[in-house]
Symmetry: C2
Subunit: 352 residues, 2 copies
Amino acid sequence: MEPRKSRRVRIGGVDMGGGAGITVQTMTRSRVEEVEGSLAEIRAAAASGADLVRLAVPNPAAAGYFGRIAARSPLPLVADTHFDWRTTLAAIREGAAKVRVNPGNMDPDGLARVAEAAGVRGIPIRVGGNSGSVRRSGEGADSPLSELLAQETLTWAARLEELGFRDTVISVKASEAAVTVRAYRLVAAQSDYPLHLGLTAAGPRESSLLKSAAAIGSLLLDGIGDSIRFSFTGDAAGEVAAGRDLLRALALRREGVEIISCPACGRSRVELPELAREAREALGHIRSPLRVAIMGCEVNGPGEAGDADLGLAPGGGAVHLFIRGRVVEKLPPDRAIARLAEEAERLGGESR
Amino acid sequence: MEPRKSRRVRIGGVDMGGGAGITVQTMTRSRVEEVEGSLAEIRAAAASGADLVRLAVPNPAAAGYFGRIAARSPLPLVADTHFDWRTTLAAIREGAAKVRVNPGNMDPDGLARVAEAAGVRGIPIRVGGNSGSVRRSGEGADSPLSELLAQETLTWAARLEELGFRDTVISVKASEAAVTVRAYRLVAAQSDYPLHLGLTAAGPRESSLLKSAAAIGSLLLDGIGDSIRFSFTGDAAGEVAAGRDLLRALALRREGVEIISCPACGRSRVELPELAREAREALGHIRSPLRVAIMGCEVNGPGEAGDADLGLAPGGGAVHLFIRGRVVEKLPPDRAIARLAEEAERLGGESR
């Protein structure tokens, strides 16, 4: 599907929206007062490929620590602020590349001050709606949660527009995948704000990985979303790895080797899981985008391997090496992985 | 979203479509000639919660082994057949509860024989289209792959209708998530056949888990799909566990404890990952559907914990135990998990 057209904002040196690549972000677990611990997490997230990192700044005093971290951070930092607009202003003064506010828990009158300060500094504001803090009173209070969440968040963005502030990013996170997807679809249909995708309170990695992949993936497959965050109860670098894995799995960010292989079924002639595992290990150093097929199956093998940049397909006691759809060599099985790696390095223009 | 209305078929004792619950299936890795190995895999899949298991039956001689396995299987078995309709007929005679054929690689003239035999036995046929074996010739050959895949598969289903056979299940699997989702949406919009969801050649678990969750999850969130299969290069029981985890994560199959927790961010007052892990362990034996919130965050905690059946929210040196939105006890931290487990057992009507 055609990607949704969103306006572009800039967060430090990172573009978001308007056709820029989809960015991956995470949030530190250390308290912001733990300057070295926070920096260690930011560096680990950067090493995992994060584009942005967010830190919770709970009060104006904490903003000073945020500033010390921002001065040494390898990545642009986002200040996550709640309740008190003075905290948001302090974080902006201390060098936040973007701030996040939550319409469900901040005094609406503070928003004008935040908009003015962010405008002067030229940084975006994320209006981050959250199902846990939607105001359930007044007109429309019995509407579905997804609609309340989308409308409350869009109302704040509209207020920012009235104040002359346009660099708004939106998120509308719920803990249920279905509510989250519906809320983002509503916002996507009614605006061109760049969208930060995620779920709130997503739980331990084992259970939230699939929920997040389904919800975020569903939106991305429909062309919706400009930045993503997986939330786990766990480490920040793991969230980043999952985010990048999802983008790669959906062919939205191509880098390194993608291995395609048949599920090893009764049709297979060889130990496919073992061959696929060996290939993954042997090609793990390659950063160029390559699609590698490890096929053991007469039914799908030839068709699938033709789509790949290169691949292996065992048959008749040998292993066939394919390059862009053509068999180039029949190899003895014990040479197959080494030759695959050589060809992958050659195609990728890389060497060990 | 409203679930798509599909017709119902019956596979052994298992209903599919027409409002029946979404089933989870997998495929054995053993060759069908390995009768004991196949049965061990089927039993492991059943223990992981599979509803159906599929076996590859590559030729008529293999159907005899399929029959020996089917006679002892705890689950209904699906015979996966390709190329030769005689193999499909043999599998039907040997007790297949459903057969799968691939329109891309079977002689169309054999289909009438298959339809007749399946009709006599009262078993469904899955017309399983596959991007790797779509016929790319004749009219429309330059259409997008998703359309070719959907149309070829629907054409076979229509031919079965002309033959008087109606118990057709459809799948349209590709290796790319976007192609797969588009193909299923096309079939869903044009028919009421029950849909078996999956991707083909999905690769090693680490990369295919997210791709499958995104593609299958996207369809399920739109109410599309009656049975699911995750395909990994790996073990069948792991595929089943992933399938059930996805259904639980999307609230499509409620059983056992779902733990909701804040990602441990800088706002947290306690070691949330540790508390969530302890809760997961302490509640792992509970089969009743319970939603448990472990919240360490003043921002989302109260709102989220109100949605859960019960939950813990630390604060002020104590841990607050919530039951259905109301704080019922303030506990010393070292008693919190044990009390949570007691209340979960009481609410679930279970004990160790």
